[in-house]
Amino acid sequence: MNKSIQNIIKKIDILSEKIGRRINLMEVCGTHTQAVARYGIRELMPKNIRLTSGPGCPVCVTSQEDIDMIVNLALAGIPVATYGDMMRVPGVYGSLDQAREKGAKVFTVYSVEEALVLQKKYPDLVFFGLGFETTAAMTAYAVKKGLTVFSVHKLFIPAMKALLKLGELKIDGFINPGHVSTIIGVKPYTDIKAPQVITGFIAEDILIGIYMLLRQLAENRAEVENEYLRSVRQEGNPAALKSIFEVFDVEDGNWRGFGVIPKSGLEIKNKFKNQNAKIKYKKILDKIDFSKSKKTTACKCGEIIRGLKEPRECPLFKKLCTPEYPVGPCMVSVEGACNVEYRYNQNAKIKNQKSK
């Protein structure tokens, strides 16, 4: 093992022993979820540190109702394009993939550029825009170029605040999302009252981030520190932010696992209302029967997104729910906690099961 890494781990060991009690640290970014598993970082942690995943996977936090709406639009003959992982999330009316199998025009795109090209061929095309500030900036660009969008874009900070307000899990510190922070900068995190470190995505980044969080805990500080200096500037990316708020208004957002979080959603401004699929296709959307969407299943995605449960604590995990036959979005998305756990941690037992 690399010497500098050994040093960081040693420092983490010393600090965690000094703090003594159980420490819950949460990462809130799909890429961090993958990186933690990829590098086996949980295995390197002292016993009293529990690393959990929060609502950082855009596909996972998209609500059932929104998925049912977009699937219904597709089934009604409206061409729909979205990012790959979204295709397979099952809703009450099936997934977008299943809609396509039945003949609906559904397209996987890698970027909004591809959606803009598709729109030339299918002028009625609706882009199902999801994700946080990172992808919202790209969607904003595409709206300005004339793309019609069904926006389920979300703002990140309100979800972190909602988590703390719910208070179901005592979160001692956040590993803040590197990509989102590249857009929003450091300042928006300052009114969250918890230790936070913005980190990058390689092993050293994450370990240093954990060390910095422990240092804050040991010194009784609760502030935002930036470890990902090579990408995240204090002010973020002003051009991207400007573009987002030229196109979107901040409204209430519907999150899987949380329900409605005030002022957490991005809705297309009135100025672009002709490109807002929710207005353009209101007649189709109004007819959808949502009574089934609210039905609960044994799927624990909601609790997993809130960091209350580990994937292995879900009764469906690896039994009825696998990446090939996913029941919930956390198993569909390559950024989802269940999918990541399934891929990288085949033989592990539940670590720290007796937490909380």
Binding site: T31, E101, F132, P177, A203, L320, V334
Partner: protein
Amino acid sequence: MQKSKIKNQNNRIELDHGGGGYKSWELLRDIRGILRLKGKWKNCEDDAAIFNLEKQKLVFTTDAFIVDPIFFPGGDIGKIAICGTINDLAVMGARPLGISLSMIIEEGFPKADLMKIIESIDAVSRQAGIPVVTGDTKVTEKGKIDKIEITTAGVGLAKKIISNNGINPGDLIITSGDLGEHAAALLSKRFNYKTRVKSDSKPLNEELEKVGKYLNACKDPTRGGLAANLVEMAEKSKVKVVLDEKILPYKKEIIAISELLGIDIFSLASEGRFIAAVSPKKVKKVLQILRKYNNPPTGGAKIIGRAERGRGVFLKTSLGSLRPIEMPKGKLIPRIC
């Protein structure tokens, strides 16, 4: 309710059934459950089937190609269609004799593009010394297929078959060159990235003719990349393979593209490389020969890991932990967070 959901998903063919992962395997099993007659052919569940002749073995393979975009840096659908079949024969230790070429073309497809595709097939055919000997052409109404679909088949003769299940504990795992450049070239074209990455597609018959006799197992890491193909080889050979993160066969640009998009680098396909297991005594000789064909700067042949007793494929990470490398599930999907 959950059970019925899963049943529903089985009723139709999904894109994942063609993805090369677990679902493809399930589908193949179902098809093979019906097509049970095998005659004297062996190895029918694999990339190429084998028919024993008196002194040699006849090897027979076929492959269908769809690719988006059809022209990409370093090649086109025609080039990968002919290379794919030549390489499927070559990695079995066979000397390819001839190739068949069938095309389904969408009405309205530009004739100049078709001729460009045929010319690149011709270029590979001449380079490899393997003729295209028969074929068929169909045209469908506009919109029935997407531009063009190509199916190639090929026969070859082998004195000794190189299997994909012959890895022994103690063998070294090598690659004939750096991996993932084909997939990375396609991805950078889709994302409009300005890179110098070109598809690695090329025929492998000549280099495999030279080193085939030294190899214990061999496979070309096309669909599913190193992950899918090495996992399959290790599983069939009943060994454990440990790769070392420090000596992975990927160029800087490929790593950058995979990290930028958040796509698992081990799933990136190559169309002109192979992975093989070689006993430590012979490895120096094999690498020496292969470097004539895959010189640095194109990324030379090298050792990437070692086989041991046990099961599974693992990567020794820079942190010293062993992380499992899994069979990729479904299609490659870039990150959105």
